[in-house]
Chain length 279, copies 2
């Protein structure tokens, strides 16, 4: 039995999220079907966590065992031939049997992309909003308010460190990691302007269901002036979801990277360069 770790990129707009659901196209189900087509083995790949409908991944991680012996590069090429174009296998590695995409994860990096309709001056001095391209729309939040990114950056500092994020959990309190502990550590939370986008990057030990989208919704409320900077520590301390801002749309959210202890990775096929060499 060989234990596999895959990194995957997917376009969330074509899937009803990660987790397999009867009658719906999900990433987990699509990957399971592709593995069955290739090997005849019925395995359910474990993800580092669920992603909701419309949420994208640049580096989701999945793990599963296979009886069939396959060189890593062959598995990658074969999967990319049978998978739909909306999911791509970026790397394949053989790992030790105690590696588990969710249980072994030590942290995650998410990105949230907002299209800023910043005004531009017309020829006569008249101003109007930029139009969000219909080709970009599935991959951003087309946010209709002008945003004060400096305030949002300042507010993001309140997220750093270890605290109870119950105020930022989904109303249902379901946890993406299947564990109810609302105490998480945030290592990094910052905003950057890149062309027409405002991009939020947040790296934490783990995230509650909807937590990044609720953080973004709350920070946007600060950026548009409907909440004050100092409302954020008060909201966090309340541990009350109803105090926070709205849930930002799924379309702007990307799971960028999942971090693991190096010791959990098996025969050192962990980086893309080595995977390339195996092809």
């Amino acid at each position: 039995m060989t234990h596999w770790k895959l990194t995957l990129a997917y376009n969330g707009s074509g899937f009803h999220g990660w987790q397999v659901q009867p009658g719906l196209t999900t990433v987990q189900g699509t990957l399971a079907n592709a593995l069955f087509r290739l090997t005849g083995e019925r395995v359910l790949p474990q993800g580092s966590g669920r992603t909701d409908t419309g949420v994208h991944a640049l580096g989701q991680v999945a793990s599963f065992p296979l009886a069939a012996p396959l060189p890593p590069g062959n598995l990658q090429r074969a999967l990319n031939r049978v998978l739909p174009a909306g999911v791509r296998v970026l790397t394949t590695e053989i790992v030790s049997s105690d590696f588990h995409a969710r249980h072994s994860a030590r942290g995650k990096l998410y990105e949230y992309r907002i299209f800023e309709r910043r005004v531009r001056a017309g020829e006569t001095g008249a101003v109007h909003e930029r139009i969000c391209s219909p080709f970009l729309a599935p991959f951003v939040w087309d946010c209709r308010w002008p945003l004060d990114l400096e305030s949002m950056q300042e507010a993001s500092a309140f997220l750093l460190g270890t605290q109870d994020f119950s105020a930022m959990a989904a109303s249902s309190r379901s946890n993406e990691d299947g564990e109810p502990n609302p105490v998480k550590t945030i290592y990094r939370a910052d905003w950057a302007r890149e062309e027409d986008l405002a991009i939020f990057r947040v790296h934490g030990s783990g995230f509650l269901h909807h937590m990044v989208r609720n953080l973004v919704g709350t920070l946007v409320d600060i950026g548009r002036g409907s909440l004050a900077l100092m409302d954020l520590p008060r909201i966090l301390a309340s541990r009350n979801r109803s105090q926070a801002g709205p849930t930002a749309p799924a379309s702007g959210l990307y799971l960028v990277e999942v971090f693991y202890d190096q010791s959990k990775v098996g025969p050192e096929l962990g980086d893309a360069a080595l995977v390339e060499a195996a092809l």
Copy 2:
């Protein structure tokens, strides 16, 4: 009664093409519904031509009359508020009553985008194919053959001028412009490399149904070596669809611009700068 000319961009992956069809989401039907919501008037906007399911537009043109008096900038903003994010109104102009998006059109520019899986060298000198991003896939043809773009460029010269393009028509012989004349004039047909893409641009007096996609399929057959350069004039002369290459996928095709005689445009609100001034 005011006569309107709109330019539209749309993401074809969310629509069953331009033309209204019962029970299906089409661009024409979506625009008609938005106009009804805004004005209470039932009009069917006329397009410069149909686009098929999955085909994109950067500058489709639609025309229709409205009884409601509206400043052009207001109509644009109001439509963009009620339309889904996959269609955007780029410009709005008031035109004379004899303007018709299809009948007045004098030419069109199409673009076709191919993702080239060109090999790159890994760290150890091993090579592998680039992976087409799942975010790019709906907007290109992820073509699995290495392409000799120089041959394709050379072959494209055979398309220039006025000739019978029956060999490049859809098998059904249905014509995008609703007219069966297979004689068209091509003013420009060339290939360019832009980052990982090979882009074909073709400007003609008009195009038969599937004509651009059949041209691209045939040129790709030349670029991958399964047809010779000199096969193209022979195929064109045959006027026989079965001689040409396959129909390239819809996802790579963009209607970029529709050209009109300037005299057909009414009160000179034709360019984006003036439309901006009206906002």
